[in-house]
Structure formats: C-alpha cells, structure tokens
Symmetry: D3
Subunit: 239 residues, 6 copies
C-alpha cells in the first residue's frame, strides 16, 4: 500500500476545470491530487521570426512555478533574471508534446502559446501540465473554428501524460512528491489516448535498471492515460 492508500496502478484524484481563466482563448485548471497547474492557451495572429511567410503555424509552451507552490519557497525566476535548466527542459517537453498532435500547416500563420503555471506542487507537475494544456489548446483551436478562422480542428491525436516510477522495488503510477523523492526509477510517459508513444523519458535515480521494469511502467502508464484521456474528453464535453 502506498502512503496515500493508493494501489500501485491507481491515479490520484484528477480533475480538469475548463474555462478557469477569463481572458484566455482556452484555459484549464488541472489537478492531479495536490498538484494544481493553471494552463492557458493564447492565440496570436503571427508566428515567430523563423517561420514568417512559410505558411505554417506554431505551438510553444512556457512553464513556471509560483515561488511558494513548493514545500519551501523557491526563488522567483523573474527576480533571478533567468529560468532554470529544469524549467526550460519542462517547457520544451510540453511544447514538443503538443506540436506532435497539431497540424501546423492547417493552423496557418498563427501561434498558440501555452502557459503552464504551477499554483501548488506535489509531484508530477509536468505530466499534469501536458494533460491540462491539451484541454486548453483544444478549446483555443475550437474557438478559431467557431470564429470562422479555421475550417476544422487541426488536431490529430488526443495527448495526455502521466508519471510512473519504482519505489521500494514496486512499479507505481502517478507519483506524489513523497514518492518521487524516494523513487529508484522515474519515468514520464506522453501517450495518445490510444496508447501510442509521443515521448518517454526515464531515468535511473539510484542504480541502472532492467528493461522489464520499463515494460511494467509502460503498462501502468497506459492504464493511467486511458483514464486521464477520458477525463479530458468529459471536461471538453466530448464524452
């Protein structure tokens, strides 16, 4: 049994509160247990310089943590004057994950900027961010269709993410902070609702591990993604 009384293959309580932010074209307050991430999607009718006049759009992401979203306060990146390597790594992952399911040609010369801001952190902020960002992005793209700027949703797959890990030699799903900080192996899975792979990152925290552990974590991830994808669809009124 896990400290949270969850089974190894059990997600935390997960919710997607679509439309949370008044001004954004799409938004979603995403909760994976005590991890709360506000995701917004902002549509801009221009693309970054490297794409100008190429007839294609772009999706990018930025990530941040409020200074006291964590157990002890972390420095405000804006005050330090730069983003940490961890922040950049995460926002690059979010952007890549979402771009992999968007038809950028069909999007046309516009950019969607995804902002994922962690209001409260308890492990798994990047997977919560990706899962919630999909909901915000969907709404923002849907608005473009409603406003007559696009004929149809330029979205291929549904994307969701979840973490897995091995704690005390047991593979488990959706780690909270306490589990994460004692995990022997740490893995993040970004999959489609059908379970196909968009991105996997796995790291041995303590000592190298065998392929079998990766397979077992992958099995757990598929179970979790299946549920998360269903919750995303419900939040979007698609199910």
């Amino acid at each position: 049994m896990r400290s949270s009384n969850r089974r190894p293959d059990q997600l935390r309580s997960i919710s997607f509160e679509e439309g949370f932010a008044k001004h954004a074209e799409g938004s979603c307050l995403t909760k994976f247990g005590d991890t709360h991430v506000l995701c917004t999607a902002s549509v801009e009718e221009k693309v970054p310089p490297f794409l100008r006049n190429k007839g294609t759009g772009w999706v990018t992401a930025e990530y941040g943590m409020l200074p006291r979203s964590t157990h002890s306060r972390i420095d405000r990146e804006a005050a330090r004057g730069k983003q940490t390597g961890r922040t950049q790594e995460i926002q690059r992952l979010i952007g890549r994950a979402l771009r992999s399911v968007v038809d950028l040609k069909a999007l046309g010369e516009r950019q969607v900027i995804i902002d994922c801001d962690v209001i409260q952190a308890d492990g798994g902020t990047r997977t919560a961010a990706i899962s919630g960002a999909y909901v915000a992005l969907y709404r923002a793209l849907q608005k473009l269709v409603k406003d007559g700027k696009l004929e149809s949703l330029p979205l291929g797959h549904q994307v969701a993410a979840v973490s897995c890990g091995i704690v005390g030699d047991v593979p488990i799903l959706d780690l909270d902070y306490g589990e994460d900080s004692t995990a022997q192996v740490d893995a993040n899975f970004v999959l489609t609702d059908a379970g196909a792979i968009i991105e996997i990152q796995t790291t041995a925290e303590e000592k190298p591990f065998e392929e079998a552990a990766l397979f077992e974590m992958m099995r757990l991830a598929r179970l979790g993604i299946n549920e998360i994808a269903s919750l995303q669809r419900k939040a979007l009124g698609l199910e």
Copy 2:
C-alpha cells in the same frame, strides 16, 4: 451609474480565502471582483545580508502577473530575464506598506517574504495584493506565536488598500480595468483600519487636477478601507 452598475462609492465583490496555499506559512486568495491575487507569506529563519547580526527582522514582497492573467498575453518576466519597472514599483510598494505595520525588532532575525501573484487581472491588482498580503502575513506571524518562536504578534496596525479615480469627472471607488483605462485621475490609498495614511500615490492621467478631487477620493477610500478591513478580520476569524 458605472458600467458595472455600481454606485461611485461601491466596492466590487471582495473576498479573502485564507489558507488557500497548502505549503505556505500564511496565504490568501484575494478577489476584488475579477481581479484575483494569490498572496503567500513565507517565513525564513535568516535575514538579508544588509541586516545580518543587527537583531532585527525584515518583510519584503515580490509581485508577478501570470502571462495570461490579462486581456492580451504579456511576456513572461522570467523568460524576458527581467522584471518590468511597473513590477518593481508595485512590489516595493507592497513591501513598504507591510513593513510600516510590523515591529521588525520584535520579529527578530527572520524574514517574511510576501509573494503576490496575479492569477487574473481586472484593475486594482496592487491594492488587492496589499489587502490580501496583510491576511497572509497575519497568519504567518500568528504561526510564529503558536510555534513559540514569538511571544506576541509583532503587528501594530491593520493595513488595507484600495484604488480611487475620477472617471467622467466623477470620483469613484475601486476601479475595474475598463474604468482604470479611461480615468482622468488615478489614486491608490494604503490606510490603516482607522483611516490613517500609510501611503498615497495619485497621478493625473489627462490633465492636472485640484486638491478638492484628492479630498473626495480620500473620503471614498476611507469608506472602502473600512469595509475591506472588516472582511480581512472576518477572514482571519477576528470578527
């Protein structure tokens, strides 16, 4: 009548949700209408270098806006690599306002860092931030007393803030964004619950104005602060 159907001397719907953030020593989600600011107070058992070994504590504040808290997305300061002048001006104001009511000697060699993060903006973010920061600060100081680190609350006065302005030649209280952007005069009042002055900043946006207008705005501010201070006390269970 104002666009929001408020009387000139009427506040927006204001609420203080104390204890919103799980990890912080004190916290408050503050809403002035559609302006939502998350205020946290973090206690650190050390002081900044300029105060080391001087037997006195410190209170400082940082302020930020989520990129899509606003009508159109603003740049993320952490990505730009620096805070704007506006941000610095506001966080200096918040810190000054709170320090003015704390007995820093009695606080001892520790620092309270106030973080005010605007989740959603609709005018008056700095006054909402100050008012909510007081609630978070109170709780954090109270925790120091409960934990036996302080004998009594090192707080002199109760502090709250509100904006006033002149729109269409009419002095009004607690401007929303639409009013703020058409105001002829803009003023921010930081007062004690008894109406004494901690800080006033007033600016002619259009053309110089007469002293009488300042007096009238001051009268409105006192009315507003009176209500806000009462709501603060209720949120803290003091009334």
Copy 3:
C-alpha cells in the same frame, strides 16, 4: 530651526543652469543645494515600436546616479547589469510628470528622451530632476519650433516638483539628505506653476499619519513650487 538654518517653509538655494551640455538639444544643470542633477533632452526623429505610425510622439526619461555622487559609493548600475527598482521608479515618475504637460499629438512622430544624471546627491534628487528636466525639455521643444519642425510649443503647463516631509513632528519643505533620513513622513509633489496636482506620492516612514499633515505639506509644496517655477522661467528667459 533646521540644521541648515532654514525655516520650515524655506527652499535650499536653487539654480538652473540652462545650456550646460554642449551636444544636447536642451540641457540644464540643476542645483537644489548640494544636490546637483544634469538634465538633458535629446530629440529623436522616431518613436518607440508601440507608437509607430500612430501619429503621436513620446517623452520618456532615464535616471542614474554617478557611483560616488553619494556619501558612500554605490554600485555602478551598468556594471551590475541592471537598474535598481528605485531607479526605475524614479525614471517612470519623471517621464509621467513631463508627458502630462506635453501635447503628444502636436509633437508628431518624434521622441524626446530626458536623461537625469545625479552628479552629487544630498536628498531630493527626483524633485530636482523633474524641475530641471522641464527646463531642458522646454529648450529642446523650442528648438524644434525654431527649426521649423513644429509650429508652436506643444506644452500645456509648466511643471515643477519639490519634496516635503515631517521631521520631529514639524512639516518642512525641500529636505536635504540628513532630514530625509530621519523623516517620519516623506512626500513628493509634482505640481503645475498654478499649483494644480500632477502627481503626489507620500509615505509614512515611521507610523501612519493623519490627513491634516498631508494638507500642511501640500501648503508648503505650493509655496516652494511657486518659487521654483519662477526660477525656471528666469532660466528660460521668460521672466
């Protein structure tokens, strides 16, 4: 009696040396006692990006202190790689104060950049800067008229600034550094020559204060501004 043997309502010896800088379109070496600020106005035939092609001009200000303008040396901001919050706050104030009296439409698509550099500091640098900047700005705008680029001076009011404060419970005018560092209340007034309000900022340094003190400081400020405005006019040959 004040340490400087001044009466409470007495200004320091004030002078405006117009045309001090050889290259600038307008310039003024401003002295408020031992506070010496060099103000220059530089005209550029272009506007910042956010104003391009909008048929309006802009006035902005930058402020700096020479590292050894102060009692003990302060870090050079250029070497630190950023301007302090105080610097940004002051330069925003100067810019706002001057823009409030310029007809930006009439100025056309050009920008006036005001540089206020403190050569020597003894309190009240921001109010000296605003007062001297007006003289430099006037000359620069006058040159545009002389050069046939403008038909008439795009200036509404005359603007000047002065500090007031309460020291030892006595309201006084135009504080020097020694007075400023022991003041209970600190206030800066930016007024027109007719005494109308452009900006007021007042802060309790020690404990909250009552409205009556604000009124008394306002009275002193009007007296001071009256004299300063006259000296500005003399420096410009208008009186």
Copy 4:
C-alpha cells in the same frame, strides 16, 4: 542501405583519444564519425554550496558548441548572454548520467566538472559527449587514487550512450545529422556496459509510434553500447 553505406545496426567509426588536453585531470577527444567532442574532467577540492559539510562529492557537466561546429554558424552563447534550453537540457543529461555511476560519498568533498565542447557536429553530440565524458572522468578519478587522495575508484558501472531512430520506417543505430533531421522517431539511450538502463529519452518527431519500435531501437542500442564500451576500455588501457 544508409546514405553512409552503413547497415542499420552499424555504428559510425568511433574513437576515444584519451589525454588530449594537456591541463585537465582527465580528457578525451571523442569522435563518432564527423561528430567531434572534446571532454575534460576537472577536479576541484570543494563542493557547491548546497553540499558543503555534508561529506559527499558532486559530479556536474557543462556542454557547449563552438559557433561554427555546425553547418551554418550558430550564435555564441557567451555573447548572447545565456545558454539555450537545448544546451541546458543536454548538460543536465550528461551530469545525471555520470552521477548515476559514481559513488559520491566515496568521492568525498570534492567536485568533478565535466566540460563537453563540440568541435564539430554531425548528429549525436550528446551521446558522444556522455561516452567520452566517461573516459575523461575515469582518468580524473584514477588520478585521485594515484595521488593517494582516494583509496579506490568510486565508480560502479561503466556508462556509454548512443542514439537510435526510425528513418523511412527502418530502425537504425547512431544517426548522423542527415538521418537525424529526417527521422520519424528519435531516441537516446544511456546504458551500462551490461546493457542496464540509466536513461532513455525517446520522441516521436512525426507521429506517435508503437512499443515494438521502442523495443527494436533498444536492441540496436544494446549492440552499439557493447562496442562503444569496449572502445572505451581500450582507450583506458583496460582491455
């Protein structure tokens, strides 16, 4: 057949020139075909602040590309004033990979800084960097033993890395730049010489992919790592 006439499971010509840099405690010029990375290991007899007086050592890594190591010149990060997200992501990966095989307690309060500088790039710089960094690190740690500062090598496993990908639906090993830029799937494997997993990162570049492709790439990676690990041992005179 691949453009380079390699079989799908064939590495490029790989070499490790140990001792390339005169001053460093350990160094290795690493070549994976036309990708050339200079890796140095510098020993410092102190640890970063967060580890002081904790009786443990640290291994960290920095990564850079010479501006004209690439097809078209890239900006010099030192001149831009910051490292890109990609650079930070890679140097974090290198550091993590090496720390996973070092006994930090046994290393004692000292730090090894790994510098990986890309002299010439043709795909797979991060995997070449990790593989070469291991050689440099080994030598630097060996020197600590020779100098009597450590009793035995604080190294658990041997670590090497290689990229795999899917190009034209065919899984291939050790991609060069041309292959990398057309790959449907991109994966980096950091394994021990025994084939256990230290880190895997895999990304769908075009569309989501199935688990079977991951397994096939893993098989290729094991083949490649086996050869690379043997070349590392030869370079170190261990085989």
Copy 5:
C-alpha cells in the same frame, strides 16, 4: 594648421579642478578642451575576494559616459544591462595605468575605486580620465596619510596620458573628436612625468604605417605629458 587653430604639438586647454565632488575621498573634474571627465577616488577598507588575507591592496577603475555626453545620444549602459566592449577596454586600461604607480603592498588591505564619468565628450576621454584619475587618487591616498592610516604616500611615479594621431599625414598631439574621426593612425600614450613608458596602444585606422611615425608621435606625447604633469602638480599644490 588644425581646425582648432592649434599647432601640431599643441595641447587643448587643459584644467584639473581638484575636490569637485563633495563626498569622495579624492576627486577631480578634468577638462581637455570640450572633453570633461569627472574622476573620483573612493577608498574602501576591504579588498576584492581574490586578494583577501594576502596583505596587499588594490586599485581598480570604472568608466562610463553620460548618454548625452556625445554628439548623438548613446544608449545608457545601465538600461541595456551591460557595458560595451569599449567601456570595458577603457576601464581596464585606467586601472592598469594607476596600479602601475601604486605600491599595493604599502597600501594594505584596502581598495581604491576610481570612477571616471564622461560629462561631455570631444575626443580623448580615456587619456583625460587617466590624467584626472591620478589627481583624484593622489588626494585619496594623501587623506589616508593624513588620517594616520598610512605612514607615507604609496605612490611611485606620477602618471599622465595623452593621445596622438596622424591626420592628413601630419602627426599631431591631443586630438579632438573631429580629428580623431579622420585620423589615419591613432595612439594613446600613458607615461610617467619623466617620460618613461607605462602603456602605449597604437592602431592603424586606414593602412599600416611605419616605425618613424610611431617615434614622432612618441616625441609629441612626451611634450604633452610634460605639460600635463605640471598641471597635475599645480592642481595638487605640489608646484
């Protein structure tokens, strides 16, 4: 004849106004014609980290130009967030020049920071800065002697600097901006009052030049330095 009606070997009108800045331990407003540089020397009773506990002192210099000291306004370095290469080059030169005549051991564990700020520029700012900095430094060191902190002046030689150049094939002394911008060769000489060499920097601006030109410029420099050194002594009351 030169545009300024000077002979080739004639200096501009040069003056050293010692004690110009009220707060600094030593100061000098230096004028080489229309080039005006304020030099201050600030004494700090500590040394930079790399010299701590080594029983030796340090002299360093910082240099800056007011934004409108020049014909057209230049960016404020503090606002840009970094100093230009030119600025750094000049301040390194000033520091080196002064350190070469100070007995750093005898100075003890204290630092003198020289600030050279260009109030108005008309060519030759770096040579004016060095020459004036010597006067400020002398006074600051003399104050240490007067205050009983040093037994005698830790100064070896007197140092002064002047520029030379070749304009229209004629070697000339002490170029103003107009001459500097059309010079074929540009040279800066830092010499002792006895004409010994501390630093020479010479650059062909147009095409390579012969040794004879260097000798002739050296001859002019000695003439100029002789006069400048005498003016320095007069300003210091030594002659």
Copy 6:
C-alpha cells in the same frame, strides 16, 4: 637561455592546419607551441544593422577559451552570462586587425565572422588567434572568388601577430605562459608581412620602461612576423 631552451629571438614551433573545420568557409587550427587556437571564418550574406544599404561589408571577430584550456579551470562565459572584459578586449583587437587589411567596399554587403576558440592555452593566445584568423579569412574570401561572388580577393596586406616581452631584463620573442607571468614588460605586435605597423600594445607590468626596450622588442617582432608570415603562405599554398 629560456626555460624552453629557446634563444631570445626564437619562436615556438608554429603550425597552421588549414581546413581543419568541415563546415566553415575557411578554418585553421593554429599552434604556437602548446597554445592551440581553432580559427574559423563564416561568411554571411548580410551585414549588421548599422551598415545596411551602405554598399560595404564587415569583418568581425569573437574569441573564447574552453573552460579547461587553462592550467586551472576558468568559468564558462556562456554559463556566467557574460564575456569578461579580457575576452571583449581580445576579440575587438582581432576584428580591428583583420579589418585593416580587407577592402570592405570590395567585399560588398556581406559579413565575415571570425571565431577564435582556444582549445589549449600556453601564452600568446591573441597573437596566435590573429595569425590563424588571417589564414581562415583568406580561404573564406578565396571561396567567394571561386564561387563567382567576388572578382578578386579584397585583401590588401598579409597580417600576422606575435608577442614580445622583457623577462629578467632580456627582451624575448613569443612568450609562453611561464614567461608571460613573470615578464616585466608585455607587448603585442600586429604587423604586415612587410613589417609595417597595424597595431602595437605594450604595457609595463612592473615598472615604467624606456623607449630603447620598445625598439628592441619591435626588432624581435619583425623577425618573428617574417617567419610566421612565411608559414601562413605555405599553409595557404602560396609559397
């Protein structure tokens, strides 16, 4: 006799390996003894903003040291977020030296960026960099001629550089690090192959020195440059 068994007028073993970098238009691995500098020349078909539409080209240079090119590791400038003053001084010198021999008008609206990266340092990196940069630049310009973009080489003179110094009262040529760190006088000469002066920088490290020493170093420099220029021509196949 020198520690390296060289005569005072003897260069270190010098080599130019032209074409070292696969991607650059011109490149040269330059060795002055144990000082190894990789120089690349990158041609861009555009000019910096200040030259746009002026019908002239530009040559600029950047310089860097690998962190462990030196005896003890130096900070990575990209990680520190800024280039040191020394780096900027050197890259400005390299750029100036090369521009002095290029006909920028004839080059047309394109820019050549020279990158000089120190792989290993043992004194004299800036003179090695200039000498090698000339070889890289020559090749890059030659390629423009071969590609039909230029009719003839826009090069006036051949440029090379070497250091001299006075160690133990003896003037010597081409100092290594050990000599450089004990030199009484340090000088860098940038000359044409015919011995004409492009740039000279000389500094007294210990005490002021006399003109005769400068002449003697100049004589040594001419000897050295003569040999270096011959080696450059051989590397380029011109001799």
